[in-house]
C-alpha cells in the first residue's frame, strides 16, 4: 500500500466568483486540520481590509491577514494581503513583495503557487477556483512538477469559468472539485 504524504499546506487561489465558494468552505471546515490554509484572492486594495472579518464570522478556525514577518502556523487560515505578492522563504516564513503585477494582479496566484511549491513540494495541495483571467495556470504547473496535488474547480460549477477552464486544459490535475464537496475533500486531508 502507498503511504500518503501528510499535507502541510493547502493554498487556494480565486478571483471573480470565488468568494461564495470560500465562504461555504470555511463554514464547513473541521477545527483541527493539522495544516494551514492560505487564500490568495484577487481583490481591490482598501485602507481597511474587510475580508478577514467577513470570513472570521463563518469560521471556527482563526482567520488572519498576513503581514510582514507573520509566521505561518497549522490550524489557521491566512489571507494574502491585497496589493502585495506573497512568497515563501521556508515553511514558516513568508515574504511580501510589491513588485510588478502579473496578469494585472497583485497578489498573483501564479507567484504564490509556484513559490509555495518550491518550499512544500509534495506536501502541498493547490486549489484553483472560479475567475476571469488566466492567473494560476503556470503556478499549478509548478505545483505539479514539484509533486504537489492540483485541484481545480469544475468549470461547470464556477460562476466565472475562464480561469478553471484554462487550468483544466493546460495542467495535469489530480481532481476536479465542486463547491459542495470541497470542504470534505480538505477535511479528508487531515492527518490520520
Amino acid at each position: 500500500m502507498m503511504v500518503d504524504n501528510n499535507t502541510e499546506l493547502v493554498i487556494i487561489g480565486g478571483s471573480a466568483g470565488s468568494l461564495q465558494v470560500i465562504i461555504h468552505l470555511i463554514k464547513n471546515l473541521d477545527g483541527e486540520l493539522g495544516f494551514s490554509i492560505i487564500l490568495v484572492v484577487h481583490r481591490k486594495a482598501q485602507s481597511v481590509s474587510i475580508l478577514q472579518s467577513l470570513l472570521q464570522q463563518f469560521s471556527k478556525i482563526e482567520v488572519l491577514e498576513i503581514e510582514d514577518k507573520t509566521e505561518i502556523e497549522a490550524n489557521k487560515i491566512y489571507i494574502a494581503p491585497a496589493d502585495y505578492h506573497l512568497l515563501f522563504d521556508d515553511k514558516k516564513n513568508v515574504s511580501l513583495d510589491r513588485s510588478e503585477k502579473l496578469h494585472f494582479s497583485r497578489p498573483s496566484i501564479d507567484v504564490s503557487f509556484s513559490s509555495a511549491s518550491d518550499i512544500f513540494g509534495d506536501r502541498l495541495v493547490a486549489v484553483l477556483l472560479s475567475g476571469a483571467n488566466s492567473d494560476g495556470v503556470e503556478g499549478l504547473q509548478h505545483v505539479k512538477k514539484n509533486g504537489g496535488k492540483v485541484w481545480i474547480q469544475d468549470p461547470d460549477t464556477a460562476q466565472v469559468d475562464y480561469m478553471p477552464r484554462q487550468a483544466m486544459e493546460q495542467v495535469r490535475f489530480n481532481q476536479l472539485i465542486t463547491p459542495e464537496t470541497l470542504p470534505d475533500d480538505i477535511n479528508k486531508l487531515k492527518k490520520l
Binding site: D89, S95, D97, R98, V111, S114, S115
Partner: protein, 277 residues
C-alpha cells in the same frame, strides 16, 4: 509570464558572496524568496539561460552591476499611494511638525521619488514648505536621477490625481505639473527643499536627526535581523517625539524597540516616546 527557475538556492549564495566581496553591496540579509525571484527575473529580462552566464557577467562587468542593482531592488512606486496614509500625515502629523522651527523629513528607500514629491505637496498645502527639508535616499543612483528630473509617466496622472483627492487634496492636481506628450514634469519648486542622495540602509549609518522618517515597503524585502538593524538606525536618526511611518503591512511589533514607540490609530505610524535620557 512567471519568471523561469534558472537559479538554484546554493547559487544564490555564491552570487550574494561575489557581489558583496567585489562591490560591497550586501544582500545576505534580504528575504530570500523575494531576492531569488528578482534574480530569476533578471535572467529572463537579460536573456541569461544559466546561472554561470549571469555570474560571469556580474564578476567581469562593473557596468552591468549597476543595472543588476537597479533590477534587483523593487522600484514600483506611486504618488499618494495608500491615500489614507497621506490623509493621516496631512491631518494628524503635519500639524504637530508645524510647531518646529525647522522640519526635517527622511524618505528612506525613496526609489524614483514619487513619495518625496507627494510629501512636498502636502507640506506646501499645509503652509510649512518654507521651513522644511526633505531628505530622499535610495541605494540605487539611477532612480535618484529620475527623482531629480521630476518627470513621471503621464499615464499615471489619473491614478495619482484620484489618490491625491482621497488623501484630502483640495486643489487641482494638474496644477502641480506640466503635461507633455507622454510625461508630466512636476513643478521645480517641489524640488527646492529636497535633498537627494544615495544611502544604503544595510551598510550606511545615521546622517542627521529627523522629526519624521518615512520608509514604506522597503523593510518587507529584509529579514528580521536586518530589519532590527534598520530600526535601530531609524531610532538613532529620530528625535524624541518624532514619527516613524512604515508600509501598510509592516510593523514595529517584532522589534526590541517597540516599547519606546506608540502606534497611532490604524495607519502604520509610530511616535517615539522619550527614552534617551
Amino acid at each position: 509570464m512567471l519568471e523561469p527557475n534558472v537559479v538554484q538556492d546554493h547559487e544564490i549564495e555564491h552570487l550574494i558572496k561575489d557581489v558583496h566581496e567585489l562591490y560591497g553591496y550586501d544582500f545576505s540579509l534580504y528575504s530570500r524568496a523575494s531576492f531569488k525571484r528578482r534574480v530569476n527575473r533578471i535572467c529572463l529580462i537579460d536573456k541569461f539561460t544559466s546561472f554561470a552566464e549571469l555570474r560571469y557577467t556580474i564578476i567581469n562587468d562593473p557596468e552591468y552591476l549597476k543595472h543588476f542593482i537597479e533590477e534587483i531592488t523593487v522600484n514600483v512606486t506611486e504618488m499618494f499611494r495608500d491615500p489614507h496614509f497621506f490623509k493621516s500625515l496631512r491631518e494628524d502629523i503635519l500639524p504637530q511638525l508645524g510647531t518646529y522651527p525647522l522640519i526635517r523629513i527622511w524618505v528612506a528607500g525613496c526609489s524614483t521619488g514619487e513619495e518625496a514629491y507627494s510629501i512636498a505637496i502636502l507640506l506646501k498645502e499645509a503652509g510649512l514648505y518654507h521651513k522644511c527639508l526633505i531628505y530622499a535616499t535610495d541605494i540605487n543612483p539611477s532612480v535618484l536621477e529620475i527623482a531629480s528630473s521630476g518627470i513621471f509617466p503621464i499615464n499615471q496622472m489619473k491614478t495619482y490625481s484620484e489618490n491625491y483627492i482621497l488623501s484630502g487634496g483640495k486643489k487641482d492636481f494638474s496644477d502641480y505639473y506640466t503635461a507633455n506628450y507622454d510625461s508630466a514634469k512636476f513643478d521645480k519648486s517641489l524640488k527646492e527643499k529636497m535633498i537627494l542622495s544615495t544611502h544604503n540602509l544595510v551598510s550606511d549609518s545615521s546622517f542627521n536627526s529627523f522629526q519624521l522618517i518615512i520608509c514604506r515597503n522597503v523593510l518587507i524585502y529584509f529579514d528580521k535581523k536586518l530589519q532590527e538593524r534598520v530600526f535601530h538606525l531609524f531610532d538613532d536618526s529620530l528625535e524624541n517625539l518624532g514619527y516613524l511611518a512604515l508600509g501598510s503591512k509592516e510593523t514595529l511589533r517584532f522589534s526590541h524597540l517597540q516599547n519606546h514607540y506608540q502606534q497611532l490609530d490604524v495607519q502604520k505610524i509610530w511616535k517615539k516616546v522619550d527614552h534617551n535620557q
